[in-house]
């Protein structure tokens, strides 16, 4: 028995969003690594073995390279993995890239449906839907939806959750 992928892809613009977010995150990480390297280099700190101190300047380029690979690979990979579907009153999502997770949550167990927009998402006209149940393991996020789709989906889910709500939790 295997699960088929959910029907709907997220918006292709999500790739731009993830790329931008990874770029910012890794740029900061590289900056921090460079700062730490400069500090260790200047302070001649004896707490570390000599072999490590002399090679401390290897770290920032390494972080930068890792970041570059992530920025190039991850958004495309995530776009291929991230999918969602609502049918038979069950929300079915697939997310992740390196590690994947599938989530099946019946609409009747949904407590709240939120729509969120970070500043990157606002620039790109995207939104994230947060579907919360009584369990955080059973709560899911669908990122990278266009605003219209997100608003329609959220309203639809909230309405049906209200109709179907059972207090089994």
């Amino acid at each position: 028995m295997r699960l088929r992928p959910p029907d709907n892809r997220v918006s292709p613009r999500a790739m731009a969003q993830w790329g931008l977010e990874y770029l910012l995150g890794w740029a900061i990480a590289t900056g921090l690594a460079a700062g730490a390297a400069a500090w260790i280099d200047a302070s001649h700190w004896s707490g570390l073995p000599h072999a490590l101190v002399t090679r401390v300047w290897w770290v920032p380029p390494l972080v930068a390279a890792l970041g570059l690979v992530t920025v190039v690979v991850a958004p495309v990979w995530r776009y291929r993995v991230h999918r969602w579907e609502v049918s038979s009153d069950v929300v079915y999502t697939r997310a992740g890239w390196f590690n994947r997770h599938w989530l099946l949550v019946p609409v009747s167990r949904i407590q709240t449906v939120d729509t969120d927009q970070g500043w990157v998402e606002r620039i790109l006209g995207l939104a994230t839907i947060k579907i919360s149940t009584a369990s955080h393991e059973g709560s899911s996020k669908v990122a990278g939806l266009t605003v219209q789709v997100a608003i329609r989906l959220a309203a639809d889910l909230a309405g049906r959750a209200h109709d179907l709500r059972d207090d089994a939790t």
Partner: protein, 482 residues
């Protein structure tokens, strides 16, 4: 409100303020005595006395202005000191009633009632009645938790108390096996030393010179004395943990009463926690390695919307596995068994995962030119093999048509037994490595406990089949068409 009040608003027990006042009196007398000793009859003492008078008045006024009332659909807690606050707790949201009594309360036959209710979101809300008479506490518990009012009565709702489990003397000896109680002596010692140090510091006994000498004194002591001290700690620690355990869990009793499950425990402060039976959706059997070897296990209830679940969900402290399983089976109607083992690929993964961290450290140590650390880490990674194998042996899942059960962990093992109707959703997790081995972790999302019970490293197809067997209508629409 349309509902007619049953007994009308009531005050707390008149003796309530005595308990509060006596407690403050003790603190103030202590302070005053210290003041007298240090500085004689100074203004400080007068201030203390004024403080005492004020606090007594405060307690009186508080008692006078606070009333509570139980209506058909809600509990109303009304406070009207300067401002006025009315707290309404809908009865259908009440998940548990918690009765506790400190030594002072017990002498005066009083009890503190805490009403625990699920709020709209995930955080609970609660009301405290501090304090009412014991009979009133019992009456409140029965009224607030009687299931006749809130829905279909449980089969044994009207049956008299049934004792599910009662502590036997042997149970106290299991205390040192449970980590938390083993640590209490150190916590106590820490706070005692801290207090002594502060006191000594205040009295000018602690000087820089003496502090410096402490190190020399300790190091200068003969080795034999050090060994003796270590042995003493080893002997005393379990003893104190048994005492701590007895204080909290003296005469631990678990009984069913009026559609509720009631846990009573405690030596000085007697605490009684009631959980609404129909809100209990499952149970968790937990043990660590020591407890496992001793054949004991701790039992917790999985209750939806219960605040402070770690303490209130406790059904049994470390107790013989057979007893705990009996209790769980009586509460839930059975424990699915035997557990189905996970595929051999899971064994490989458990062993690799147990060995990987020390091996990684070993490699780094080798690169950094620290061969001895590297050898030590390699030895640790060899020791990790049996741990990985044991972790694999503990993995399992089962379902008997109404309940499911999953188990994982080795050093801290956990078996969850959950009613099917408590399942909120399914999460299937797969790392890149799991994917290559055809494995996946299925998390049963629950609105109770930690929010989920993982079935680690099931065969991917088995995981989906398991979810499909329990909730076919949620999974079937998304199965790959053959």
């Amino acid at each position: 409100m349309t509902a007619a009040p049953r007994p009308g608003p009531r005050h707390l027990h008149p003796l309530t303020f005595v308990v509060g006042a006596v407690r403050e009196l003790m603190a103030l007398i202590g302070a005053a005595a210290a003041g007298l000793v240090v500085g004689g009859l100074t203004t400080g003492v007068y201030f203390t006395l004024i403080g005492l008078a004020l606090s007594l008045t405060h307690h009186l006024v508080k008692w006078f202005t606070f009333t509570y009332a139980v209506y058909d659909d809600r509990v109303e807690l009304r406070r009207a000191l300067l401002g006025r606050s009315v707290k309404n707790i809908p009865i259908e949201r009440i998940r548990g009633v918690d009765i506790s009594a400190t030594l002072g309360h017990r002498l005066l036959k009083l009890a503190v009632v805490r009403i625990d209710a699920a709020a709209g979101g995930d955080g609970g809300e609660e009301g405290t009645l501090n304090a009412v008479s014991r009979q009133e506490a019992e009456r409140l518990r029965r009224t607030l938790l009687s299931s006749a009012r809130t829905g279909p009565a449980h089969p044994d709702a009207v049956a008299p108390d049934v004792v599910y489990a009662q502590a036997r003397p042997r149970w106290y000896l299991y205390a040192p096996l449970t980590g938390a109680y083993l640590l209490t002596p150190f916590a106590v010692a820490g706070s005692v030393f801290g207090t002594l140090y502060n006191l000594g510091d205040d009295l000018g006994l602690v000087t820089r010179d003496r502090l410096r000498h402490v190190g020399d004194d300790v190091l200068g002591l003969p080795v034999g004395l050090g060994v003796a001290a270590a042995v003493l700690v080893l002997l005393v620690t379990p003893a104190i943990s048994i005492i701590a355990f007895a204080l909290f869990n003296w005469n631990f009793t678990l009984r069913a009463r009026d559609g509720a499950v009631v846990v009573e425990r405690g030596l000085v402060t007697r605490r009684s926690v009631s959980l609404e039976r129909r809100r209990i959706r499952g149970a968790e059997l937990r043990d660590n390695l020591l407890e496992r070897f001793a054949g004991v296990v701790r039992l917790r209830a999985l209750v939806t919307g219960l605040g402070d679940e770690a303490h209130r969900g406790q059904l049994l402290p470390a107790s013989p596995r057979g007893d705990a399983r009996d209790v769980a089976a009586r509460l839930l109607g059975g424990i699915p068994s035997p557990l189905t083992a996970h595929p051999p690929a899971a064994r490989t993964r458990r062993v690799v995962r147990a060995m990987a961290p020390p091996l990684a450290v070993a490699v780094i140590a080798l690169l950094a030119g620290q061969p001895w650390i590297a050898y030590a880490c390699m030895a640790v990674s060899v020791l990790a093999v049996p741990l990985g194998l044991d972790r694999y042996r503990q993995l399992g899942h089962a379902s008997d048509g109404a309940r499911l059960s999953v188990r994982s962990g080795a050093l801290r093992r956990r078996q969850s037994v959950v009613e099917h109707r408590a399942v909120v959703g399914w999460r299937l997790r797969q790392t890149l490595f799991q994917r290559r081995l055809g494995l996946a972790t299925l998390v049963v999302a629950l609105g109770a406990g930690d929010g989920g019970a993982p079935a680690v490293d099931m065969a991917e197809t088995d995981a989906i089949a398991f979810a499909h067997r329990i909730t076919p209508e949620w999974v079937a629409p998304f199965l790959e068409r053959p």
